[in-house]
Symmetry: D2
Subunit: 384 residues, 4 copies
């Protein structure tokens, strides 16, 4: 009789869950897999959207919760949060004894998962390596590639890059991104009724008229200017007068710089066209996005899901620089005039055609299959 592979997936933030959800469903169903889920960092905190509650509602059991965020509005705390992550994840892995550990994408704290697993001789599977961006994420992503034993990438170029970096071809699999799976399966429309279940501040918008969605995260290597940057966007959106759904940023050093910018702006201005909210279930968010006239900000959702959905996007600043993008993306600097012009342009253009750069909507199934069948090792050597 076959022993099931114990696969431990570590999720550290709300957006990472969207990048793995359909793979979790497929892993949970797979006859040869015993799924273990570990939540850590901001995935456990209310002020970052209580991802743990969403994940439990979706029917997943949580095997361990790791609280590792050191509070402090600075980069030192980001580094120390990562250190505590390693200290805490190692005994969790020792207890759960997984046959492989899965780490997702490139948030700063995910390197804790990668180090704990690889140092403990547990095969490490990395989802979504090989992409190129600005920011500390860029360093983190490629460093994790060098710690990982198996690479499940989202685009052909990403596959090419991982191999170029010295990983053996047999260890790199092109699966696409699970977030596209969710975008593909959207079967109903976002409605005003649906909006009722979300709390926030400001005036709720009418979802049946054209509206903007804003999702702008702080950029860690530009820490001090994160407050200025958010103000540029606030001004432009405020003055556009277009109804807007504005999402608070996730946790990062500088998060509070951005958050503070928003808070102070709201004290000084009557932002009557903007509804601010913290979080939305992934599927609801994508339905909202699909219906929106334009997405503004620097989230990777503008690069990935929006490509598949054909949503017009204005990508601001350096955070996504280097990432492959479809025709639907208009890049601008943190410049108010440029941003206003781009809003006008995208509103006028309307929907774009779908692009399949980041997958065709089968990523979850493909990922589960690779994880169930690929050889698992924890030894490797540069291919050249």
């Amino acid at each position: 009789m076959l022993t099931k592979r114990k696969i431990c997936v570590v999720i550290t933030a709300r957006p990472s869950y969207s990048r793995i959800k359909t793979a979790l469903i497929a892993l949970q169903k797979h006859p040869n897999i015993e799924l273990q889920i570990v939540l850590a960092a901001s995935a456990l905190l209310e002020r970052y959207g209580s991802a743990h509650l969403i994940i439990e509602q979706d029917g997943f059991d949580i095997n361990a919760k790791v609280f590792n965020i050191i509070e402090g509005e600075n980069l030192t705390s980001a580094a120390r949060t990562t250190g505590i992550g390693i200290v805490e994840l190692a005994p969790v892995f020792e207890r759960l004894k997984p046959d492989a550990v899965v780490t997702i994408a490139d948030r700063f704290e995910t390197i804790a998962t990668a180090i704990a697993a690889s140092y403990m001789n547990i095969p490490l599977i990395h989802i979504q390596g090989g992409e190129v961006t600005g920011n500390i994420d860029e360093k983190v992503r490629h460093a994790i590639t060098k710690l990982a034993d198996l690479h499940l990438v989202a685009s052909p170029k990403a596959k090419e890059r991982v191999i170029k970096m010295g990983e053996h071809e047999t260890s790199v699999y092109l699966t696409g991104c699970p977030s596209i799976d969710i975008a593909k399966e959207l079967d109903s429309e976002f409605t005003n009724e649906l909006l009722e279940k979300y709390q926030g501040v400001g005036n709720k918008i009418d979802i049946n008229k054209p509206f903007l969605v804003v999702l702008q995260h702080p950029v860690t290597t530009e820490y001090e200017s994160s407050r200025n940057q958010i103000e540029v966007t606030l001004n432009a959106v405020h003055e556009s007068g277009i109804p807007t759904m504005w999402f608070w940023p996730n946790v990062d050093a500088g998060s509070d710089g951005t958050s503070k910018g928003i808070r102070i702006f709201r004290e000084k201005h009557t932002t009557s066209n903007i509804f601010f909210l913290k979080n939305m279930e992934p599927q609801d968010f994508l339905m909202l996005l699909k219906k929106s006239a334009c997405l503004i900000g620097n989230s990777s959702v503008g690069i990935r899901e929006s490509a598949y959905l054909g949503v017009p996007v204005i990508n601001i600043g350096s955070r996504q620089s280097g990432r492959e993008r479809g025709d639907n993306v208009k890049d601008v600097a943190h410049d108010e005039a440029e941003l206003k012009a781009a809003i006008q342009l995208q509103i006028n253009h309307g929907k774009y055609e779908s692009s399949f750069i980041y997958g065709d909507g089968q990523a979850g199934e493909k990922i589960a299959q690779v994880i169930a069948e690929a050889p698992l090792n924890f030894h490797k050597q540069l291919s050249y």
Copy 2:
């Protein structure tokens, strides 16, 4: 007026000091550099050779000491030691405010230095990237390359590999390895008088007759077999009857497996031809090596300094697999018969010609010059 560059070098173990010592001397003398030295991990502990005392005797000031080793004979403790390293180094960097941080080579705990610095937006300089070996070191080394902004490599092939991994050519400098500088400058001979100052257990050997040097570290990914492996070497060396200087291994998960193997062997056998000792000043060690008939083990000193010195070397097992080596190295498996044959072969051969694969003896000066003059950034992107 020029502000001096504050350069913070983090040293985490006795052998790492030999890999940086001549660079420290050159940095200390350089008019545009303010040198900061941070000691961490086993560099501070008596049972790993009290590197801190040696470094202070050499005239360097220590700016901070970071105790981060979690005791425990397992890989979990190695991971957690690394986590504590990040937690502790981050506030040290915050206090010292260096313009760049230097991390040396590829020991597991050095990634703590790399993460703390890169996450805090401090330019990271990596010494001796681009080499290829077996073991967790292999993953650590390349992961640090992806976190580092400036690469000071020891060999032409290493330079080529770092560039291939996606680092920009302008950020990679070929300097050679500082350990070769020390080998080059050896101006006197090791004598029995010199041996007097070192304490150890067993019979002291006569340095003027042919003798072996053994330096064998545990291999973390083969943790459980480290005790068996050391026994193979102990048997072969014991039965050879050749006078031997045997050095205890440095800290690693498994260290105690190896150490225990030695202790138990000594209880069962009268190892009258072996003198066991913990540590030797780097220069003394090289003089000893230069005079030895053969070096046995898996230390990188067999690959590097020994190449320059032309010392016959028997390299055991996978730890140095993939590293460029000179003609002086004979590779063997953990096999007693094979090892005995190799001892005979190398004793019969005698000294080899010098090879300059790892540098011509100017590495310290070259490193200091690059560190003083190269542009310092903390932003980068994959070159392809």
Copy 3:
């Protein structure tokens, strides 16, 4: 020549600063003292009132900042925050080499200061031991007494209790509480102009008409009910219609239970008579308190400063149970009807006479004198 005593005061929260401020001023002026200030925990965080900025504005230099709060809405995080506090404070003490360490009162994280100092053989001075309350503070306070070498207490009964617990009489000094010093020195009145500099949410009140002040912290041992408890107070105050200044609670496990209660209440009700704010400079707060018609909540300021100021106080629940109090305090349970009745009663009564239970306003000077002159030891034994 006399060497100055190096005295290291560790401050971990905004309210603790009020309990030590006048002593810091006196220590700074004292010719035989070299004052060191270490800030930790919530004293460094914006969402708990940025005590560090206030302290710097008051002219004190900060020798070290220790970020040790592990985010998480639970008691486990409170314990782990304390653990990280020890881990981080120990190297700070090693670097600063104080002749004695001062820890203030009884917040949960202050035991980290006590353990780090006493384990490192540094004489430990405890401010405000010997009092009796409910809550985990009660355990923490007396445990610190048993770790401390010198006890500077605020009331005669506190002195008696510390000695009864087995401390030697010669190590216990009655100094009073520095917070009373500030209350004594108030020389001007709180005005609407002064209120301008404080930001908050809700309608600002007119300071010249009767108003309430609310300051209610979560009670850790009653964690789950903290949200219900705050709602009782919110209802009663809301329905009273009396203009109210409401201060957010400080950090504690459960803080977010209380905070959440406030946020949700505000979403459901138009709390037009309440102005919510985060923080106020200690002196401003006392002027506000002096002018207020009644203080409501469970803060120790209602027991101490209010006694001296003669302000009517309604003390809710168990948090201050056991603490000596003046006639100005009316105790109530978390019961809406009882609370409403007490508000009516205290409003009708008006100001009380001053009581000197917690000091006569000279505490800062007395504390500095004891710290400068008392023998410093780190050895002690139970007195019986």
Copy 4:
């Protein structure tokens, strides 16, 4: 139906196991108790006697292992080890959800257990409070008393002291010390055959002729002199020429000072009358002690079990100062002449009569009964 009480016992060192073993047996048998055992600190390390192996051999299941010792020969590391202990024990308690936590005696790291449990609102049971000694243990012991909810003490005077410190009489139970239970049950004699199973260095002694047992720990508050102190004892015992069983000290800051003293002494002298060993199973050790002519050192076993066994004891220095002792104990300073005279005196005297100060041999049963039946609370207040 009755739910079993989940009782979690945390053991942090080899000697603590002897202080709880018979209680563990009784708890394991008790129908209303579900026993949980957590091992931490030196209880898990080979160089401190691998207590975990002994405990498993005795038939106990280990629910969690916590590695928290930060290596470093200094007091800072002792403090930080305690901090890591809290950080790691808190999630273990969260996972095991015990109804009460048991902490044993007064080793420095045990306060980590006390803080984690009390901060998490878990009733804390303290074994062996109320005693008086020198050293940091004194502070730790009484601080734990103030954190604990239930006190199970070993002697009538201890009970009296705990109550005097302000604990309520109903929470203090006199049970005696479980180590006496083991001493009572000794049913066979230590033999040379038994000695065979223990490894060590030096010449094995003949157990049938008069011999000494030495067990001397470093005293943390006299850190620097620990090496001198051990040399005094080594000299006296060496020169006595009497066959001696010498046990290595347990972990403490300064451990390596003591250990180093022993190692260096052995290099300089032929200590032919001394057999050095690391550990012995508790029962074997007591049989050895029972047969010995005299116990020398500063271990509490000289005060407790030896009282019951009537073994002559020479207690050196301040470590046990203040502890109640029987007539069998002769106290001396760290003075060679004094020590030599005392050896002579005790050898001449021979066995003493049994004393029951620390219990009559029923402690394990009594402890289990109290733990199973006493009311469990986590609220308390000073009794005066």
